[in-house]
Amino acid sequence: MAERKELGMAHEVLSPWAEADPIPLKGISPRVPDLAGRRIGLFASNKPAAPRIMDVLERKMKERFPSSEISRYGAEESFLVLQTAGKDRDRFEEWVKSADVIAAAVGD
């Protein structure tokens, strides 16, 4: 009887879900009207499939936009490192700023 009463009892419970400080939301950069004649950057993370994907994408971009210049960046460290002052940070920033648009392969 006591067990049945316990099972039917109402419990007011607290939330296990933590609060987090609100993060300012950021809008993305304006797009270009078209990719012809642009500097197209192709970023590959240090995961094995990323450079293979970018090899294919580079060829396809050249086919579609023969007047565009394609540049590649291959991360040698994890993307987490690139977000901090890693040794490749300067090289990475210089490359990003040299591109008009970037297509990135970052995951697995």
């Binding site: 419970v13 296990p16 879900w17 987090a20 294919v56 579609r64 008009d100």
Partner: protein, 416 residues
């Protein structure tokens, strides 16, 4: 790349789209553009990459050239983000279903975190309930003492586990643990917790027979509570942020104490820099555990067995933990082996794999930890994964009194 002002589109495997969107919005970039493609993970088959990319070329071009919507250019914060303190009222069954549907559980029944239960859990620390221990990735959720206690109640923990859990949170939040690399990886790395110091006996944390099996409140609830903390405070949810491909049963609980009394060497935490009287928790992140059976128990057979069992390390498997029975440890120690020389033995017999084509090639060498534990029998257990670190456990001033209150809670098994 967007932050530097260059319009970017990211190619994401369809299975990772929820993960990508969650990662983007949690960092303040809700309108990042993604193209969902079907290239299998880690793909090396040219035809599959070709076919998958051909299908999304128009989307890639559009992602870089389609004008922004007003929301993409200037995203607005959604209203009503915070939860009220009492989040639900219902029966045990209703509470469990409510929590499960919210994704706050781990699939097993939960203890309702009522004000009363949480208040009792908070007696396990003298830190204020609103004291912020750390923030936990990926969501940077605030691990206040109270929030830790709420998850501890849900896991069935006793108040005496609070100091261990607080130290565990600090360990995960310490960048030196590299938890960010392990928490959400497809590699399904599970936190493996080893407790050292007098607290082991205060809490009855099993170091002996079946230490890694279910049955001990401390071993089970500490691990389970940390898993709920990672999920509900850190925001790492299976299939959304936690992308473990197969998952890992160790994510329920993988906790044991070292058998310091039977260990012929200095305890693990002393080897990691603590004093013998200090309490500590050491975390590593293995994604595999395998068991070796020595055909005999003499020094040479033990070492040959260990060497035979050292399979090539894969990506991320940079730390080998060797779980050694007290009897085996004593045999080796009597022949002059130390923690350091055993670690060197393991590394000297490490071997690279045949499939060495990876961006982080390894010759198999890495960190090695020896943990003396286990019950009657003659086995050796190895785990491999991320190294993690050791964190000291701080006790509240009223610790002795608190321990006395809960120390009698031990199982008694009836003979049959």
């Amino acid at each position: 790349m967007e932050e530097m002002g260059t319009p970017t589109v990211s190619l994401v495997n369809m299975g990772f789209m929820n993960d990508a969107r969650s990662a983007a919005s949690s960092r303040g970039w809700p309108s990042l553009r993604f193209v969902a493609e079907t290239v299998p993970s880690e793909c090396s088959v040219a035809e599959q990459i070709e076919e998958s990319l051909e299908a999304v070329m128009d989307d890639i071009v559009a992602g870089l050239s389609r004008p922004l919507t007003p929301e993409e250019a200037s995203p607005k914060t959604k209203e009503g983000g915070s939860l009220s303190r009492i989040v639900f009222k219902g029966t045990l069954k209703e509470v469990n279903q409510f929590f499960y549907k919210r994704g706050w559980g781990d699939g097993l029944p939960l203890i309702p975190p009522t004000e009363e239960a949480v208040a009792e859990m908070l007696t396990g620390t003298d830190l204020a309930p609103d004291h912020l221990v750390a923030t936990i990735i990926p969501r940077m959720g605030k691990a206040t003492v109270e929030r830790i206690a709420i998850n501890a109640v849900m896991a069935g923990a006793l108040p005496t586990y609070m100091p261990v859990l607080i130290a565990g949170v600090k360990a995960l939040a310490d960048p030196a643990s590299s938890f960010a690399a392990w928490e959400v990886s497809t590699g399904s790395w599970a936190p493996f917790w080893v407790v050292n110091g007098p607290i082991r006996n205060d809490l009855h944390i099993n170091s002996g027979s079946g230490a890694l099996s279910p049955g001990d409140i401390a071993n089970s609830a500490i691990g389970r509570a940390m898993g709920l903390i990672v999920k509900n405070i850190g925001g790492a949810r299976k299939g959304v942020e936690d992308m473990g491909t197969f998952g890992n049963p160790g994510k329920y609980a993988m906790v044991l104490a070292e058998n310091e009394e039977e260990c012929p060497w200095e305890p693990l935490h002393v080897a990691e820099g603590c004093t013998p009287q200090e309490n500590s928790i050491t975390v590593s992140f293995p994604n595999c555990l395998w068991t070796l059976w020595p055909t005999a128990t003499d020094e040479q057979t033990l070492l040959r067995t260990l060497a035979d069992g050292l399979f090539p390390s894969g990506a991320g498997q940079t730390c080998t933990s060797v779980l050694l029975l007290p009897a085996h440890a004593k045999t080796l120690a009597s022949k002059g082996w130390t923690r350091e020389s055993l670690a060197e033995f393991v590394n000297s017999h490490a071997r690279p794999g045949v499939a060495k084509d990876f961006t982080s090639p390894t010759d198999g060498r890495g960190e090695v930890r020896v943990i003396v534990c286990g019950g009657p029998g003659s086995w050796i257990v190895l785990t491999k994964g991320g190294k993690g670190l050791t964190k000291k456990i701080e006790l509240p001033l009223h610790w002795d009194k608190l321990v006395q209150k809960y120390k009698a809670i031990v199982p008694t098994y009836a003979r049959y």
